[in-house]
């Protein structure tokens, strides 16, 4: 299976609109929404969920007020500023310690070092992931719980499930919608993929952010391409984006002009290529033709071979 991941560095550049159109144009592809923080692809693809599963993240600590003797050791040991001295009292102490679950990173140090065994630790349900049917084929997507963590792990889960679906249905391609930034979920989306497509906007911010995400794909060894969206917003920056891309071996594959049809399509819950024959739709079709051709010569996805967390390479200088 080949795997295309659409990322951008900067948010709001049009990744999801491009992916939705690719979904319409691609034949025999599984779709994956790896932007688990703020998933939007389902708003266009109108999925019918056929399978759902809980996503179990790391654990969270919880202090049992009845057992806490308020010694304060947990607070001294916690590096994440997650322990507060404002829990309810019990027969022995007027106040107990409490874990702020939003700050808790689930290291379990407080659990292991509590002298009174007053802290419990259990894996938490951090969200759900789904396999759905859409008018363009299967979609694997997720909903991360409110203020939950472990988004990188959930991204890897989605990519692996997409691969399983592809294998079962003999599909040759996975198209993944990525998240903004260059951190954990983005690294988890890109690791082992066949090809990355950057969707960038022609602004100085877009230029700055493209450089960082291009450096990331170079580090991860993922070949990549660049599409400039809303390209007519600025006369000079599209060329600078493409020059910068060249510096990192990223192939420019086209420019999408600003077109109100893009927002109109979103409101109509359609992809741009379904609802419009205007300039943006034409540009996206042309870009897809180039991307599809490039995918034929890319390597197959390595998502089945990567660990649940990326980059498991020990550093010799540390140990």
């Amino acid at each position: 299976m080949k795997e295309l991941v659409v990322v951008s560095g900067k948010g709001g550049t049009g990744k999801t609109s491009v992916v939705a159109s690719f979904a319409a144009l691609a034949e025999r592809a599984v779709l994956a929404d790896c932007d688990v923080d703020a998933a939007d692809l389902h708003l266009v693809l109108d999925p019918r969920i056929v399978h759902r599963e809980n996503f179990i993240g790391g654990g969270k600590a919880r202090i049992m007020p009845g057992h806490c003797t308020a010694c304060g050791k947990c607070g001294e040991l916690c590096r994440f500023d997650a322990i507060y001295y404002d829990g309810p009292g019990n027969g022995r102490v007027a106040r107990t310690f409490r874990v702020d679950s939003f700050a808790c990173e689930g290291c379990g140090v407080c659990v292991d070092f509590c002298d009174d065994n007053a802290i419990e630790f259990a894996p938490a349900v951090c969200g759900q992931w789904f396999i759905s049917e859409t008018r363009f084929g299967p979609l694997v997507h997720a909903q991360l719980g409110v203020a939950a963590d472990n988004s990188g792990k959930l991204v890897t889960q989605i990519r692996r499930t997409a691969q399983e679906v592809a294998t079962q249905r003999k599909l040759e391609l996975a198209i993944c919608d990525g998240s903004p930034g260059i951190g954990c979920p983005v690294i988890a989306s890109l690791t082992g993929a066949s090809l990355a497509l950057f969707v960038a906007e022609p602004t100085i911010s877009g230029l700055h952010d493209l450089e960082r995400v291009a450096q990331l794909t170079v580090q991860l060894g993922i070949p990549s391409m660049l599409a400039v969206n809303k390209a007519d917003l600025n006369k000079e920056v599209p060329q600078r984006l493409e020059n910068l891309a060249g510096k990192y071996g990223v192939l420019p594959v086209g420019r999408i002009p600003y077109d109100r049809a893009v927002t109109a399509a979103q409101i109509a819950k359609k992809s741009v290529v379904e609802s419009s024959v205007g300039p943006a739709a034409r540009a996206i079709r042309d870009i897809w033709t180039v991307v599809e051709k490039r995918l034929q010569t890319s390597t197959t996805s390595q998502v089945g071979n990567i660990a649940m967390r990326p980059k498991l390479i020990p550093r010799e200088d540390i140990s």
Partner: protein, 290 residues
């Protein structure tokens, strides 16, 4: 007064709002700090064009195993819930990318064979842009975890009337790390289906954190009744609607300070600042003094 500028969806205008609020508040005579907490893709510097006075590395503590003392008992590996330290035969290996620097392995080691060393994960840059104090964190490319870097940026906040935190997008760890413990959250959104969907997620996040918040609608348009209705029906307080304006988009694309380039936008930001001050209780000390 710490105000976080956040959003579920990316590219809605967090940095535009945060940098221009900082600029206008400073012009009004307040002491202001702008903190760029979007350490993965920090862009505030493009608009504020600060003079950087100090740059220092952001580091993360990583365990180092003293091979001479290590008896390969495996306790460190068992306590680590991130799989960041492993005993393999006669070797104890550390995987820095997975380490959350909780210190558990060092605490549990009976041989005192583990020490922590600071490993650079990014840069903290401090400077000034006119009268705005500027602080940003820049995460190294390839580094997965941004929350520790965001913590360092927040710890560097000076004692000013107003602290503006420019948040990363999303609703998980990095966004939470930025907004938690702030006094008020401004959620910036755009009146599109994606914008509304991600706004709902962001509202759930700030409600879960029990933080007071209000919404700024950016790139508003005459046809956005449905969006306004949603906010009214759900009692979401709207601080300002900033009209969609090609001149703003173009100024942004060039990296200009938008308040300087587009007078109508300057007025929007002044109104927003007034609305914020009315909104936030106990904010009297930051009121304009003349």
């Amino acid at each position: 007064m710490k105000i976080a500028i956040a959003s579920g969806k990316g590219g809605t205008g967090k940095t535009t709002i945060a940098t221009n609020l900082a600029y206008v508040a400073a012009r009004n005579g307040r002491t202001v700090a702008y903190l760029d907490c979007d350490v993965e893709e920090p862009n505030g510097h493009i608009f504020l064009k600060p003079t950087i006075a100090e740059e220092r590395p952001i580091t993360k503590l990583i365990p180092v195993v003293d091979a001479a003392r290590c008896t390969h008992c495996g306790k460190c590996s068992r306590i680590c819930r991130y799989g960041a330290i492993a005993c393999v035969g006669k070797q104890t290996l550390v995987f820095p990318e997975l380490c959350h620097a909780c210190g558990g392995c060092m605490l549990v080691c009976p041989e005192d064979a583990i020490q922590e060393v600071a490993q650079p994960v990014g840069q903290l840059r401090l400077g000034t842009s006119g009268r705005v104090q500027f602080i940003e964190g820049v995460l190294d490319v390839g580094e997965a975890m941004s929350p520790p870097a965001i913590r360092v940026v927040k710890e560097a906040a000076p004692d000013t009337d107003l602290i503006l935190l420019d948040s990363p997008p999303g609703t998980s760890c990095p966004a939470i790390e930025c907004v938690r413990n702030s006094d008020f959250v401004v959620l910036v959104t755009e009146p599109t289906p994606f914008g509304l969907h991600d706004l709902k997620l962001a509202i759930e996040m700030v409600k879960a954190l029990k933080l007071p918040f209000a919404v700024v609608v950016n790139r508003a348009d005459a046809g956005d009744e449905w969006f306004r209705n949603y906010c009214e029906q759900n009692r979401v307080s709207m601080l300002a609607e900033i009209p969609d304006d090609r001149a703003v988009a173009e100024a942004y694309s060039r990296g200009d300070m938008i308040c300087e380039a587009v007078p109508a936008f300057d007025q929007c930001i002044r109104n927003l600042l007034d609305a914020l001050e009315r909104k936030i209780p106990g904010n009297h000390h930051t009121k304009e003094t003349r």
